[in-house]
Subunit: 347 residues, 2 copies
């Protein structure tokens, strides 16, 4: 009926006594400092293991006594998703300062590899951790690796650089996100057959490319009645997205589904409603913003795939902190889910 999980009142002193060594030796083992014979190391580790000893984080943090500095490298410009991440970091300020953490926002042109790499290099040394919305490019990869080699903890945010030795990726599986979008469009269209349009920022962006890939996978295998039109590129800009989509809508009267892969949602929505087809076309897009929220409520958008920006911001900070402290990461907690948002479960 009652079962207790995890209690510890042991201190380093207890471990030292149990292992038959001094406090100093336990400290050396605990921090991988040199000067301890291998078998002594084992004895100490065994004692730690046996008692499932965990250093008291509060005491450790206090003793270490260092304020930690993290930097968030984010795209300049007015991407609402990124602005939300910034906003959530702002909301954490009390939490942060109570832990003597400081977070610096650095905006830069993340689409220019050399600029981004330069920004990253400049951070080396004065930061304990960096979260970066990264472009996957050799020079960026090199810059990340340099940071890691300098002892800085690096987390990629939203968009990954799997080939770099970053410590962690905080973001969603974009192929799965695309698959989810595909399944939604297909199922919400229902029995009808017809054409499906895709508007993306650019197929050169890793996350967009992955989403399109997943989307096409599902369409091809599960919805043979729907044919996918060639991808339109709107560069995440409103006007351009509107233009290209308007042209496509004019040419195809039998479009029943639309997947907007990136930003540029205002343009996409305009094109749809100007053509008077906003209620007939199943429209699935990404991210919850003021606009997409309204479109969902109006019934123009049918579903949005979302990665909770607040969760993403907090997870990045927590992961950086855990990495800096040498604590384990709660993988399940830091995993970013693919949220399907419809009108009735708007957060």
């Amino acid at each position: 009926m009652a079962e207790t999980l995890s209690q510890t009142a042991l201190t380093l002193r207890d471990i030292a006594r149990e292992a038959g060594v001094s406090l100093a030796t336990v400290d050396r083992v605990l921090h991988n400092r040199p000067g301890v014979r291998p078998d002594t190391v084992l004895r100490v580790k065994a004692a730690i293991e046996r008692n499932s000893f965990q250093p008291h984080v509060a005491a450790a943090e206090l003793a270490r006594g260092r304020a930690r500095r993290f930097a968030f490298v984010m795209p300049s410009g007015s991407n609402p998703f990124m602005q939300q991440i910034e906003a959530y970091l702002g909301e954490m300020s009390a939490w942060l300062s109570a832990r003597r953490l400081s977070v610096e926002m650095v905006t830069t042109d993340v689409f220019d590899p050399s600029v981004l790499a330069g920004t990253l290099e400049a951070l080396s040394g004065d930061c304990d951790g960096v979260a970066v919305v990264a472009l996957d490019h050799p020079s960026v990869r090199a810059a990340i690796n340099d940071l890691v080699d300098a002892g800085t903890k690096v987390v990629t945010l939203v968009s990954d650089v799997p080939s770099a030795r970053r410590h962690h990726y905080v973001g969603i599986d974009n192929i799965a996100a695309g698959r989810t979008a595909g399944a939604l469009v297909g199922r919400l269209v229902g029995q009808k057959s017809g054409k499906v349009a895709i508007v993306a920022g650019s197929q050169g962006l890793r996350d967009h490319a992955e989403r399109i890939f997943g989307f096409n996978q599902v369409m091809a295998s599960e919805f043979p009645g729907l044919s996918v039109l060639p991808v339109l590129e709107g560069r995440d800009e409103d006007e351009r997205s509107e233009q290209v989509l308007a042209r496509l809508l004019g040419r195809h009267a039998d479009i029943v589904g639309l997947y907007n892969v990136g930003a540029g949602t205002p343009g996409v929505a305009n094109a749809l409603s100007d053509a008077g087809r906003d209620k007939q076309v199943v429209f699935v897009g990404h991210d919850i913003t003021v606009l997409t929220r309204r479109l969902l409520l109006q019934g123009v958008m049918d579903a949005a795939i979302s990665q909770n920006p607040g969760h993403e911001a907090r997870a990045a900070v927590r992961v950086l902190l855990a990495l800096a402290r040498g604590e384990p990461i709660l993988r399940e907690q830091e995993k970013i889910r693919i949220d399907i948002v419809m009108r009735d479960n708007l957060p």
Copy 2:
């Protein structure tokens, strides 16, 4: 280009100097201890405010030096959702013990008000915080209020008791969850018209009743082509759910949608497949378990509404900890989202 959020290096000493008082007085103000003249209080608070001083949580925790005990009061029996919460708490054990927290699992018959109330009363005194899956009943409400009055922090989990003075509710908005289920069933059924069945544990359970309410709302207002059959009660048991649903399926050949409000999913799925109608009926249920995961992959279930049990467990612990420490709660972080899970975004 670079903007820094929140940095503090001030200590109590600095505040004392700034306010022209001693450390002891600042301490008295900070902890609402008596013996300080009102104008002195104001002077100290002003200094704290001016410097946006935050006590160092690590130092505070260390100085306080108390291990905290929390209790989770959960339903006995084999509810997989509750088992998952337990499992996630287990995974946190390192995190917990590093903070000198202990979590005790107490299982009890949460469906019997007096038994539940008795269990809660018994906890009074030896716990700093209690998370409880609560039934909404006067005696339970009284027990919760007693706990609160005794200084114990109380959080309701999954199922709320809004009339009690609990400090926080960790769980989803069940009406919205029901609405979401309704929207999914309606939209996934498509153009067809027909009947929709509902299987619930009991309409006496607050969360089930709320879900059904939300479901019916959406059905009535948005899907006039679908008629909802009277609610079946399966008491969250597999066999009973199977029996009542099998009987219903036998009587109605034109059932196109099914909403399973609570547990008992194995029985529901059996009834569907035994009738050979598992692929024709749109089936929406709750929670991700080994079984629902399989049903989703097989295409028997079309969508599951889920409240991330891991998040729920962690949020409950974090909220209790913040309450015990007197820290503010990050409401956005602790809010539990209604997740729509389909085959392609299975976590």
